[in-house]
């Protein structure tokens, strides 16, 4: 399982209402360079070219709290290639609605990925534990 790595500025950004996780569009960015946890916005990443890749937007399933614990559940996302794409290794989740495309977290796939025409890359979010929780 790919570990959730926190971008440190996210906690400040959420405290200063840069994020509305219930309505903002979360999106995937792909990079082959390890991001710094101190990064705060998308422009700090070196992204790959997405010409041959399907939409990277993530669908939010639920955004709610129960007994004082907030949970954000995201739908699994399948990235489909219509041509060569990559290499990439790091999968970054960011807020595409926020003014500066603020970063939330990233995952390390563990090895370089090159997608060819017809290949797919599935991001399998935890439908039970959620993408993130705040207690």
């Amino acid at each position: 399982m790919a570990t959730y790595v926190k971008f440190e500025p996210f906690v400040e950004a959420i405290a200063e209402k840069k994020h509305n996780l219930g309505s903002d569009q979360l999106t995937v960015a792909l990079t082959n360079s390890a991001p710094s946890v101190a990064f705060s916005q998308l422009s700090q990443l070196t992204q790959i070219t997405y010409t041959n890749l399907s939409s990277r937007d993530i669908t939010t399933v639920t955004s709610a709290q129960t007994s004082g614990t907030y949970k954000l559940i995201l739908q699994d996302l399948t990235l489909s290639a219509t041509g060569s794409c990559g290499p990439f290794r790091y999968v970054v989740i960011y807020n595409n609605t926020a003014t500066n495309d603020d970063l939330i977290s990233y995952y390390d796939y563990g090895s370089n990925v090159i997608l060819s025409n017809g290949d797919s890359f599935v991001i399998d979010f935890d439908a039970s534990a959620g993408f993130l929780t705040i207690a």
């Binding site: 399982m1 790919a2 570990t3 959730y4 926190k6 906690v11 060569s84 999968v91 977290s105 995952y107 796939y109 990925v113 997608l115 060819s116 025409n117 017809g118 290949d119 797919s120 890359f121 599935v122 991001i123 399998d124 979010f125 935890d126 534990a129 959620g130 993408f131 993130l132 929780t133 705040i134 207690a135």
Partner: protein, 273 residues
């Protein structure tokens, strides 16, 4: 994902409807290539593997007076040992060579090419379409033994008949070659195809992230009491009220009044008396 070679074997039959057994591996996304050689005057009307009809890619011949060559394929052939049955238009003998691959796209060959009357060395060129495709070709010459050149691996075969492939991914898409030479003079014919690799599906299990908001919290136990003291505020000041009260005789004649004060002119008559 890369195409993977599985198995290959050469067989022959002496009559239409003859069969031979062939063992296909169990890896996924299998693809079978069948090379059938018959006399120029006849055709291979059908080929089946475990009862499933194979599809014809193309036909050619080695050259004038040579043999007819037919290249068939079968998507996802059954695994295990099963019979190949070759039906021809007459009872003449035939030769057949079969090769199987795995991790191949489950579709017809994405490209093919052919030529005949080729002198040694032979370059069989196919324009591939997909990244990481393999080029697979059938070869037939009239006299000699094949040997592989650059970018080419022979898969068994025998004098005058063979299947060869690139045994590696051909990227980027475009013209890619099989290179064959043969001895003994004569000419050669070939049919080659491009096998696209099976699409790969990579899955990343994304872990959940947890954030905790912390703060100070004071909880008073049942045995404890919080006693709130009463606040008191004192407003101080002079509150003097003078009343006009009549003097009684007793008070008027009180000894506390001195004569002088009692008879003072400051007393008005009605008060003094």
């Amino acid at each position: 994902m890369s195409v993977v070679f599985d198995n290959a074997t050469l067989n022959s039959g002496t009559a239409s409807g003859a069969n031979f057994s062939y063992t296909t591996g169990s890896s996924s996304n299998r693809f079978m290539v069948l090379e059938i050689l018959v006399n120029n005057s006849i055709t291979a009307s059908s080929v089946t593997y475990n009862g499933v009809a194979c599809s014809l890619v193309d036909s050619t011949n080695t050259g004038a007076g040579g043999q007819a060559m037919h290249l068939f394929y079968l998507i996802n052939p059954d695994s295990g040992t099963n019979n190949v049955v070759v039906t021809t238009s007459d009872t003449s003998s035939w030769e057949g060579m079969v090769a199987t691959y795995s991790s191949s796209a489950q579709m017809a060959p994405e490209a093919s090419a052919k030529a005949n009357t080729q002198s040694s060395p032979v370059t069989a060129t196919v324009t591939t379409i997909s990244d990481n495709a393999w080029v697979v070709g059938m070869f037939r010459n009239t006299t000699g033994t094949f040997s592989a050149g650059a970018n080419t691996v022979l898969r068994g075969g025998a004098t005058g008949i063979n299947i060869a492939d690139t045994n590696g991914d051909q990227t980027p898409p475009g013209s890619h070659d099989l290179n064959i030479s043969f001895n003994g003079g004569g000419v050669c014919g070939w049919i080659a195809i491009s096998l696209a690799p099976a699409a790969q599906v990579l899955t990343m299990q994304a872990d959940s992230g947890a954030y905790v908001l912390t703060g100070n919290s004071v909880i008073l136990g049942r045995s404890r009491r919080m006693i709130a003291s009463v606040g008191s505020y004192i407003l101080t000041g002079i509150d003097a009220t003078f009343r006009l009260v009549g003097w009684t005789n007793q008070s008027k004649n009180s000894s506390s009044f001195t004569n002088s004060s009692k008879s003072a002119s400051s007393w008005v008559n009605d008060h003094k008396n």
